[in-house]
Every structure is written in C-alpha cells, then in structure tokens.
Amino acid sequence: MLISLNQTGVCYRRPHGFFKGSRSDFWALKNITFDLHSGETLGVLGRNGAGKSTLLRLLAGIISPDRGALKIQPGLCTTLLSIGVGSHSTLSGRENAILNGMMLGATKQHMTASLERIKEFSELGDFFEQPIYTYSSGMHARLGFATALEVDPDVLLIDEMLSVGDKSFNLKSAVAIDKRLKSGKTAILVSHDGEKIKELCSRSVWIEQGEIVAVGPSETVVRDYENTMFQARLSV
C-alpha cells in the first residue's frame, strides 16, 4: 500500500477582508477514505467541482489535509502530470526541458540524459534550441508533454485526458500514456471518459461534493456514475 487516506478532509478558508472578521470555510474534500496499491491504476470520476483537483493536489503532496489522516509511504515520489509549469519564456526548449523536469521531481542528471528523447518526441526540430517565446501554443504543449513523460515518478497523477497539440500528436501522447499505465505504473487517472477508465483502471473512486459516492471495480462504478449522470440529464 503506497498511499492511504482515512476520513481525510481539505478546507479552503476564504477571508472576508481584514475588518469584516468572520470568514467562510469551504470543505472541498470531506471524508475521503481509500487506499492506493502498488502497480494499480485507480480511476477518479466526478462532476466539475466535485473535488477531483483538490484530491490530486493532496496526493501530490502540494497541500496538507485539514482533518483525517493521509499516509504516504516515506520517500515516495508522486507527481501531478502538468505541462510547461514554471517555464521561462527566454530559455530555450532544451533549457526549459531541464528546468521543468526538475520542477516535476527529476534530477538534473536524469533530465540531461533524457534531452535527445524529449527533442525527438516533441518533434520540435531546430526550434528545440530557440527561446520558447517563439513557440506556438501547440509547440509549448508538445515540449511540456515530452518533458513530463520523461519524469518517472513512483506514482503518476493525471488530471483529465490531456489535449496536446494537433490530432496526430494528441493520439501519440494518448498512446504514450496508455502504454505507461499498462506497463504496471502506479497511477491515478481523473477523467470524464467512462470507457477510458474502464479500459485503464481496475478500480475507481466516484466523488461528489467532496465525498465518496462509490469505490470498487471500474465496471460497476462507471456504470452507476453514467446512469446517474443520464438520469440527471433526463430530469432537467
């Protein structure tokens, strides 16, 4: 067991201004309890605002729980797959790949050794040596994705299906992620795509308004989730 949550809650406090005194607390996650086992891919389902992103932030070790317990195996590297976070517009693609990779948890040596693969995967060619303010947004995304792919954390956290660049690169990146997940990588996948979850995740968690609605085999959780969503649409 790599990560274990027990009655975990996260609260955002919104100040009302210095002189207004009271403040409103918003519990983005209330009582979350589940375990993540080594080698599994866990799916996370839920509507917008259900608390999925907060859950990923918690698991990535970016924020701490405000109540309940969060146990993460000591020394475990969990990384939220993010694209181009903290990049510097005047640095070249090559320099940004090293910087971004380090921000995502890899060592400098690891990133330096991965540069040729990043250059190839991102299909940037000569632009790899240019400052990234010369890039189109598709090129930004390609560089970011290729870099993130080279960072190899113990637990990979993925928010939604990343839409990267044009159709062909989109397909290529989806295939790369699928391959990574099927190779026994421990991962958590947040997605609205029930079919994708069923294909990649053996178990799933469905959360709604910060609370768990169901945990179990993806087949049943996805079926219940989609039925409920369908009912909700019909009743409107």
Partner: protein
C-alpha cells in the same frame, strides 16, 4: 539528494531570471546601475546647492550608502512577492516555498556584485586605496546578506495572506531609506537619538562599509555583533515559519 535538486532549481531559475532580464528589457541592467547613481546625484545636488555643506569626498560617501542600500531595498522588493506571484505554479508542483524568495535574492545579489565592483574601482580611482581593513569586507557583505534574508523571507511568506502588505512595505522602505544614513553621517544625528539610529541594521552596515572603504578603519565590532544577532535570529524564525506554512500556503493564495 532532494536538497541537491532544489539547489539545482534555485541556480537554474536564477540564471533564467538574469537572462530574461537582460534579453527582454534592454535597459534592465542599466536601470539597476542608474538608480543608485541618480540617488547619489540628487543627494549631492541637495547637499551642495541647497544646504551648501559639501566637500568633494561627499560623492564617494553618498555612493557607498546608495549602492549598498540598493542591494537591500531591491532584494526585499523583488523577493517579497515571489511566493504570491508563483501561486498558479504552486498549485501544480510541490516546491519548498523558501526556494522562491531565495531565487530573487540570489539574482539580485549577483547584480549587486557588479555594482560593488564599480564602487571599488571608483574609490580606488579617488584615492581610497585598499587597507588591511578590507579583510572585514567579506564579513560585512555576509552580514548584509543575512539581514536581507532575515527581512525578505518572513515578508514573502506573509504576502499571500495579506497582499496589502506590499503597499505598506514600499512605504516603510522609503522612510527607512531616509533614516539609514545614506546622505548624512551619524555625527550629524543628535547623540540622544543614536540608540534608535543604530537599531536599524542598515545604518550600522552602511557606516561599516564607509569605515572600511573610505577611511581604511576597522568597523565597529560591537554594532556588527548586534547585526549578526538580528540576522541569525530572523533567519531562524523564518525557517520555523516556512516549515509551518509549507503545505498550507497554497490554499491561501487566491489567484
């Protein structure tokens, strides 16, 4: 291992910051050199033309104060909003928050070293040749770095909770500049105010720089010991603060 990576990030981002400043605004470095020079010229003009009380040595006197003040003030200005500004990035990746102000301070210190070199050359050219008191210079520089860290680190941690602190800080820095002895010597301050004057670590440091660079005298060790206590105490307190807020500050950044 972990800290090695954070150190690599600090060095890499410092380099990136210096590079982007040099590339994006052509005047970047020039402004940095110009600001203390303009201050010096302004003070000099006021002293000689309005107050009619100057000698030629006043320029060196003013330069030492302005340049070392510049390191202090711009270090604090640029680092205090560093965590707040990185808010959207910090929602995606974990970084020890202390890394961010350290990057700004390091970039600033690098630029200051260039100014310091100019200052040294100026004082040699105007006849203030190095004496054995120069041996105290690294210590004074180190103490100033400690003071900059000791003031910037808590401010940077505070800013996400109280964004208004930025405005207050600008005002305080401006007033502090006037009482740090940049354009006057402590002899001009009435004796009963000396206690308050020397509470300001920058006043002590500026006086120490002048003793070493312009008079060839050893600095006042007792007063420097006070600055050392000030610096190390506030750095230690900052480390405790950062330990406490490291995983909760992201929840407080509303941007």
């Amino acid at each position: 291992m972990k800290w090695q990576r954070y150190w690599d990030i600090i060095v890499y981002r410092t380099y990136a910051e210096l590079k982007s400043e040099a590339q994006l605004n052509y005047m970047g470095y020039v402004w940095w050199v110009l600001e203390p020079l303009l201050n010096t010229i302004m003070f000099y003009a006021i002293l000689t033309l309005v107050l009619e009380q100057s000698s030629v040595g006043a320029i060196s006197f003013l330069l030492v104060g302005s340049i070392t003040w510049q390191w202090f003030a711009s270090g604090i200005m640029s680092s205090s909003s560093s965590i707040f500004d990185a808010g959207s990035m910090l929602k995606f990746i974990y970084l020890p928050k202390i890394v961010l102000p350290l990057i700004s301070i390091l970039a600033n210190t690098w630029k200051f070293l260039f100014l310091l070199l100019l200052l040294l050359i100026w004082s040699w050219c105007t006849g203030h040749l190095p004496s054995q008191a120069y041996l105290a210079l690294p210590l004074i520089l180190l103490l100033q770095l400690a003071v900059i860290l000791g003031v910037s680190l808590p401010l940077a941690a505070l800013m996400p909770y109280f964004p208004d602190a930025k405005v207050a800080m600008d005002a305080i820095l401006r007033s502090l500049m006037l009482v740090s002895g940049i354009f006057f010597a402590v002899e001009q301050v009435p004796a009963e105010f000396h206690v308050y004057f020397y509470m300001n670590p920058m006043a002590v440091l500026i006086e120490a720089y002048r003793a070493v660079l312009l008079q060839g005298l050893w600095p006042d060790w007792g007063k420097l010991a006070y600055v050392a206590c000030f610096g190390s105490f506030s750095i230690m307190a900052s480390l405790l603060i950062y330990k406490r807020i490291d995983l909760s500050i992201v929840k407080a950044i509303h941007r």
